[in-house]
């Protein structure tokens, strides 16, 4: 029963926000903060009860073998914490911006939150697929209604592309379902079914599931919807997409791929990891020549997610724990990066880096805070980014030294493109576009400050974060070792 509020709080907030008109933002923020409080309470309960897994199950579509089962272990808890931290930040980021029909916007955001949270705690394959698809719908409308130029073509592409990818996952799940002993979609049954398959078939199932995740994260060469979609998406939409939504896929790797097809992964996983590493380097290189800051962070996100994917698929302690920490860091840092974009564009109307310059001279606070976010992104030690990336590289290195070394090259390329964007926009002489630049408001400072505190805080003291998932990851690894 403890798990239901995680779905219900955002859902009810969505409905209330829709009907509260002008006050929708207070409703949404209140609801998301309540959700955060509840998740922290869950965390407290989890730690005090000896890290017992929470479960909830009730029959739903028995003749199809589908039940409404939820479960939350340390891994799910990490993701729930991520979405419950990011959500109020996204809402607060849009606090003083003019959006038409705000009540609809907030209702859709909260709806999406509910669906994403559901995907993080679903313990039934069909339910996971359902949440996965439902989450797509609100963000589609958010991008379509509040997006920038060319939104119709781009959102349609985004929608169809990811939808198509998830069909492959559905096919794979149905195939597994046919092999389950009790003909259900229950998590454990799917695990059993997957593990009983011969290696070759496990490989095929893995390919189907991974395709859905590869499009969602995205990794090369399935990424072309992403830079465009981020580019036209309104800031809250971009934050949701990169801050939380893509973690459905990386979480999926841990929950719905590694334990399902351990043999297939062992046999063919190197190809997926290799592709992820290619994706890291490819996206890093492309980031270097981006002229628009928003496109740059879109490609930078691909690079970081590639590393998460590669580390997770290494299927060892460091890789998975590093991936979990990096998901949290990436979520927080994405909010920061997109918020900086939003602040700059709201003043100057452009994010073309060549046109900007010298903003730090006018607004030193923004310069300073943006710098800290950049440090988090380039994974300087004592920032949140380092903890995740170091463990990921270490995990990948334990799996395969050569791939580990190639992935680690991203720490050099990351500095090249991130510092380039920082310097072009923040330093140098004040360019025309920034002449009438207004300093950031207190509301903006508050949010950026929170991001900075989280970046440094998790970087200096990551131990409690790592402790959340340690036991569950260990159990998962024991499970696939058998």
């Amino acid at each position: 029963m403890l798990l239901l509020p995680i779905l219900l709080i955002p859902l009810i907030t969505a409905i209330l926000a829709y009907f509260s008109g002008k006050n929708a933002k207070y409703m949404a923020l209140g609801g998301s903060l309540l959700n955060l409080a509840y998740v922290l309470f869950m965390l407290y309960t989890y730690n005090t009860t000896g890290q017992e897994t929470f479960t909830f199950s009730m029959p739903w579509l028995p003749h199809l073998g589908v039940s409404f089962s939820l479960m939350m272990d340390g891994i799910s808890l990490m993701l729930t914490i991520l979405s419950s931290i990011v959500m109020p930040m996204v809402i607060y980021a849009s606090w003083n911006r003019d959006y038409e029909d705000r009540h609809v916007l907030y209702a859709l955001m909260m709806l999406m939150d509910a669906a994403m949270a559901g995907s993080f705690i679903a313990a039934d394959g069909f339910l996971f697929y359902l949440f996965w698809e439902i989450a797509l719908i609100p963000i589609y409308f958010i991008c379509l209604k509040w997006g920038g130029e060319g939104r119709q073509r781009i959102t349609l592409k985004f929608f169809l592309y990811t939808m198509m990818g998830s069909f492959f996952m559905l096919f794979a799940f149905i195939y597994l379902y046919q092999h389950t002993p009790d003909k259900t979609f229950a998590l454990q049954s799917l695990y059993e079914a997957g593990r009983s398959l011969p290696v070759m078939e496990q490989g095929l199932v893995m390919a189907g599931i991974f395709l859905a995740f590869a499009i969602k994260m995205p990794i090369f060469p399935f990424h072309t919807w992403q830079p465009e979609t981020y580019y036209i998406a309104p800031t809250p939409g971009a934050m949701l997409l990169s801050g939380i939504m893509l973690k459905m896929a990386t979480y999926g790797i841990i929950r719905w791929l590694i334990p399902v097809v351990p043999l297939g992964l062992k046999e063919y996983g190197i190809w997926l990891i290799g592709l992820s590493v290619v994706s890291i380097l490819y996206a890093s290189f492309i980031s270097i020549v981006q002229k628009d800051y928003k496109r740059l962070i879109a490609f930078a996100s691909i690079a970081h997610v590639g590393l998460i994917s590669a580390g997770l698929l290494s299927a060892n302690m460091r890789g998975i724990q590093g991936g979990l920490v990096e998901m949290l860091s990436h979520g927080i840092n994405s909010v920061g990066l997109f918020f900086v974009y939003d602040i700059i564009v709201s003043r100057t109307g452009t994010a073309e880096m060549d046109k900007l310059g010298g903003i730090r001279s006018i607004d030193p606070r923004l310069g300073f805070m943006f710098l800290i976010i950049v440090l988090g992104v380039v994974a300087l030690p004592f920032t949140n980014g380092f903890v995740g990336e170091f463990l990921l590289i270490l995990g990948l290195f334990e799996y395969n030294q050569v791939l580990g070394a190639f992935a680690a090259l991203s720490i050099i390329l990351g500095v090249v493109y991130m510092f380039r964007s920082f310097q072009k926009m923040m330093l140098g002489e004040v360019k025309d576009e920034a002449l009438n630049y207004k300093k950031q408001t207190n509301q903006e400072t508050m949010l950026l400050l929170l991001v900075c505190v989280l970046i440094i805080g998790f970087g200096v003291y990551p131990k409690p974060i790592l402790a959340i998932s340690e036991k569950s990851v260990m159990e998962l690894l024991e499970g696939i070792a058998q």
Partner: protein, 632 residues
């Protein structure tokens, strides 16, 4: 003792945070007091720690807290105090304090006074973490941290894009080195399951380390050395250091001469057990070090910017230290790190005093005759110049002599090359001295009018550093001589518990002979500089004049920057652009083509797509209802 060790490390952090927090209301005077006092506290604590190590040479491990843990990977934030780290602590905090003091005068007029001191404090803290850490991972915090501090201080005057480019170049080149460092950590953890110095090099894992195949050990040592190459500006990653002179001069003295750039030397010395087992990599260290020493000294011969001369000199001196490290003379390298910290900090601060007096002018072609106007600066600068040239009995003489003597013992060819570097060093340093302080004043009337000796907060550090540049070398009197006069303790024996026994077999006569010859040759080199620049009044050519042959190559810094820019930076950009224009387009085009086919088949979709939001919502709800109904 544990508390003192912690205070030594964290005092500058506390004041860094204080200054950041009190940015708005703290006055300049208060900021200066706060910033300097914490470093002084840290210095006093370091001195206590050092004294404790003198009396009681035991490794002390101080656990601060548990940082990262993931399964078998456990990393504690803890300090390892032994004679090596205590020595580094002492000279780092000492020099840092003097430079803080100097900066009060130097930066007083600058708008970013508070910002500057907060960065300096941050740097001091991170530098201490770097050398006090008990594991490679914790050292890495300081290692990347000081690189970041250096980035912030190079781009301190960030309105000028040139400074920003220099800062980014420094950070990227450092990161290339850090990539090696990271790989070394991965390898060590992979093979031995630990990153702690006290376990790996002095404790229970040492036998396991020694049991690793030489190939793996060489890979680890090579990766670590790549880290050192980046941080300590060696070939091929040295070009960032001269550009880093865009930072305010006290920063050049502290970070880019005395402390941060010697971190690479520290790393190799700290992991010397590893390098001892990998003769090939040690040879590589020597060759890279010697080449860098020669290259840096050669470029230094023709530089006309007072700070650039000193920068290339630093590159060259660091090269000498690596030469010594590769030859197994770890104590000699550390000894030179310490003396170099004194005289190079002195020289940089002296140049700062000159630049301050010249209202920002850095070109020595527009200086001259400053001896009369800046008497204290001149005298201390002269001492620094004598010290770096290796004139007895100043500090540089002893450390350089030890490096050359150990080269003589192991591989005489490096003795000859090292001697060549020393001769060039003496020449370019005296060229700098003569052009700056002797002859006629060549600047503008306005500059001449403004010439003044610097205030006491600037001259006092100069005087103290000058004294240290004289006496600092007396701790390492050559063995033969020391034994002859009855001294049996020296820097070598002091370092023995950490760096191992340092064997010297040369007889007293041989030692004296080497010292005599090198000193005579150096004096000759100085005399040559004197004849050229004082007697014959040779002046460096103007930028417009054409140079020929070797001298044009030297003046052009062997075009290494240009080569890097063209074949690495631009090639990299071109490659990235190519990727975007070919593969990215191809992939996207394929997806779009597929999409077009699909959407033309289902033409109905287009109509829906252009409608109002309400239609969608209705459509969506209907779809969900139908879906669920179908399922049930």
């Amino acid at each position: 003792m544990e508390v003192i060790i912690k205070i030594a490390a964290f005092a500058p952090l506390v004041t860094f945070v204080t200054i950041m927090a009190g940015y708005k209301w703290m006055s300049k005077t208060l900021t200066a007091w706060v910033a300097c006092s914490s470093v002084f506290v840290s210095f006093v604590c370091s001195a206590t720690v050092f004294y404790d190590q003198v009396v009681n040479p035991q490794q002390v491990v101080v656990m601060v807290y548990h940082w990262i843990s993931s399964g078998t990977f456990q990393s504690e934030f803890s300090f390892l105090i032994d004679r090596l780290s205590a020595t580094y602590m002492l000279f780092i905090t000492g020099v840092a304090f003097l430079i803080h003091l100097f900066s009060v005068g130097y930066m007083w007029e600058d708008d970013g006074f508070r910002r500057f001191f907060s960065y300096l404090n941050m740097f001091t803290f991170l530098m201490l973490v770097l050398i006090m850490a008990d594991s490679l991972l914790i050292t890495f915090i300081g290692w990347e941290g000081v690189g970041f501090a250096s980035f912030m201080l190079i781009s301190f005057w960030h309105q000028d894009m040139k400074n920003n480019d220099a800062a980014k170049k420094a950070f990227v080149m450092n990161r290339i080195g850090d990539f090696g460092y990271l790989m070394a950590m991965c390898l060590l953890f992979y093979h031995l399951g630990s990153l702690s110095y006290s376990q790996l090099f002095y404790g229970e894992k040492l036998t396991a380390l020694q049991a690793l195949p030489v190939g793996v050990l060489s890979l680890i040592a090579g990766c670590l050395f790549l880290g050192s190459v980046g941080k300590s500006a060696q070939i091929p990653l040295f070009t960032w250091l001269p550009d880093a002179m865009a930072a305010p001069t006290p920063v050049s003295a502290l970070i880019h001469a005395a402390t941060m750039v010697t971190a690479g030397v520290y790393l190799v010395a700290r992991t010397s057990a590893l390098f001892e087992m990998t003769p090939d990599i040690s040879m590589l260290v020597t060759i890279i070090g010697t080449s860098t020493a020669i290259l840096g000294a050669a470029i230094g011969l023709l530089q006309t910017d007072i700070k650039k001369v000193l920068a290339y000199s630093t590159v060259s001196q660091l090269g000498l230290m690596f030469m010594a490290l590769g030859l197994g003379a770890y104590t000699a390298a550390i000894f030179h790190v310490v003396t170099h910290a004194f005289f190079k900090a002195l020289l940089f601060l002296g140049s700062g005093s000159v630049i301050h007096a010249m209202s920002g002018e850095q070109d020595i072609r527009r200086m001259g005759g400053l001896r009369k106007h800046l008497p204290i600066t001149y005298k201390t600068f002269l001492i620094g110049t004598l010290a770096i040239s290796g004139i007895p009995p100043l500090a540089g003489f002893f450390s350089k002599d030890q490096i050359l003597a150990s080269a003589m013992e192991t591989a005489p060819v490096f003795f000859v090359l090292g001697l060549g570097v020393s001769l060039m060093t003496a020449f370019y340093m005296f060229r700098l001295l003569f052009l700056t302080f002797f002859g006629e004043f060549r600047g503008t009337e306005e500059q001449k009018h403004h010439l003044h000796e610097s205030p006491a907060t600037m001259t006092i550090p100069l005087i103290i550093l000058a004294i240290m540049s004289i006496v600092g070398g007396w701790i390492g009197i050559p063995h033969g001589v020391a034994h002859a006069v009855g001294i049996h303790k020296s820097f070598d024996t002091f370092m023995e518990p950490v760096l191992g026994k340092f064997e010297m077999h040369a007889s007293l006569g041989m030692e004296l002979l080497i010292m005599g010859i090198t000193t005579l040759l150096i004096l000759g080199s100085i005399y040559y500089a004197y004849v050229l620049f004082v007697k014959n009044r040779v002046r460096p050519v103007k930028d417009t004049e054409e140079l020929t042959g070797l001298s044009s190559a030297i003046a052009g810094k062997f075009y290494i920057d240009e080569i890097y820019r063209k074949y690495i930076v631009q090639a990299n950009d071109k490659f990235a652009g190519l990727l975007e224009n070919t593969i990215e387009r191809l992939v996207d085009g394929t997806v779009n083509a597929a999409g077009t086919v699909v959407s033309s088949v289902s033409g109905q979709l287009r109509k829906v797509q252009t409608g109002q939001l309400e239609h969608y919502v209705v459509g969506f709800v209907l779809a969900v209802i139908v879906m669920i109904a179908l399922l049930i």
